[in-house]
Subunit: 152 residues, 4 copies
């Protein structure tokens, strides 16, 4: 059992199958934007994915907080991969649309985006998006959204 899996189990989070995890890590690693931003995937469960983005000058807006665009980029990816965990092996996922409310400045040494499938259909999937500002052990909800995805 690797370190991440052990941490997830302590947190009571269910793991996706090794096949699904591999499929998603492979896709994530091929997204130029995610590595350019410095994001990494930290949990892959059935219908639920976490992505963490460390605060760095490269991802800020004019006041030094994480930019709304970076916040929603990782939220969009977390929701997309959450949907993808439930898709058939030979399919791919596209974001149809999403909406995000920015609730508070994204303060902290990192943000954590959580995508959770609310409804999984044959064609369309709907996810909840949540982004937390994390400083040490304190987490604060900084953005919340809703996303529609299509299986193609």
């Amino acid at each position: 059992m690797d370190e991440q899996t052990a941490a997830d189990e302590r947190a009571g989070l269910e793991q996706a199958s090794p096949e699904v995890q591999e499929r998603i890590r492979k896709s994530f690693d091929s997204q130029g934007l995610m590595s350019h931003l410095g994001a990494r995937i930290t949990h892959i469960g059935p219908g639920r994915v976490h992505i963490v983005l460390p605060s760095r000058p490269e991802v800020t807006q004019q006041d030094g907080y994480v930019h709304a665009g970076a916040t929603s980029a990782v939220a969009d990816s977390a929701g997309g991969y959450a949907a993808f965990t439930l898709f058939p092996p030979d399919s791919s996922v596209l974001t149809v649309e999403y909406k995000v409310n920015l609730l508070a400045p994204a303060i902290g040494d990192r943000i954590e985006a959580v995508g959770t499938v609310l409804r999984s259909g044959r064609t369309l999937t709907v996810c909840r998006l949540e982004v937390f500002g994390v400083q040490d052990d304190r987490r604060k909800l900084v953005a919340t959204g809703q996303q529609t995805l299509i299986c193609v």
Copy 2:
């Protein structure tokens, strides 16, 4: 008259005042994310701002198109600065929320985001967001959205 202003006039686009242009360029230059992505601001008019993002491996998703997160990051900034052109000098702008529909893969050698103020209020401003994939002289609408901003 600089090169950009001349190009805007050929396109029939009205320019914001030099003071507003400077205020916005200064804020844009202080956004770490925009320069990290490689985005540049190409038009600042009253209630309307254009931002261009060249396609590079650093901004793509898994299929090689511009990532929805990068698309919406520049759309969010274009709308935010469009609102900001109409705000008082000593104010600042925050995105309350936005929603974006991704209509087509963001193909082309660059994308161009256009933010346009639909309604400017004392507290809240609503913008339309449009993103085009541009290849040579062809432009195709690849994303459309709507955004709410607050003047603080």
Copy 3:
């Protein structure tokens, strides 16, 4: 040429074919909610539908303006039928999601909702929604939105 068609032509609005018009009027007439609210369809063009709702005490909120729920109900129907004008004869249309910004109180003796197709796909269609408050000949934009529909 009936009265509505003549008025549309004066306004420069293209008409949908008689078959499409009949299909849409038949569906509209079977919506209990639209007749209960007192809404009527006033224009059916290819990819564009108008619905008018007279202001009456039955459709107001607590301040006497048209209720946001009534405003968005007619906006949703206008977008749905705009999409439906471009669908094959034996299909039906469902709203996947929509988002609406309420820009101003819906003042006037009626509201007019305009649904316009922005992108028509085989499975998904995206519409722009606009609602105007109308008093005599003055029209004011009171709501604007964006909607995703599915062809089933």
Copy 4:
């Protein structure tokens, strides 16, 4: 203790103060649309309001299900009143915008809309909107949304 309060306590739902409950019932009763649709308010807690709408031919779309417009009208009202429970006595509430995903046909003998405050600010409040189709004791999520409100 009235019948509704007793039912809420059995369900573990906290009640708002009598003053807040009266303020909200008075506002609700002055909304022409809610009584015209046949909606009634069934729970008023701090930051949470439930509204029930019985299925009747007057609120349906063309297939006999509750119309998306009626679904979102009661969702919008539930969120608006949930926000209003946390506002100062002499204020009023306006919907800035909302977005709703329609997940499944609204089947059942009634729908129940639940508005829950996610973030309460001095100016802006953000609510989660959920609508359930209810048949006897079975509840199914048929719509989910997110709403921004302003205190004026």
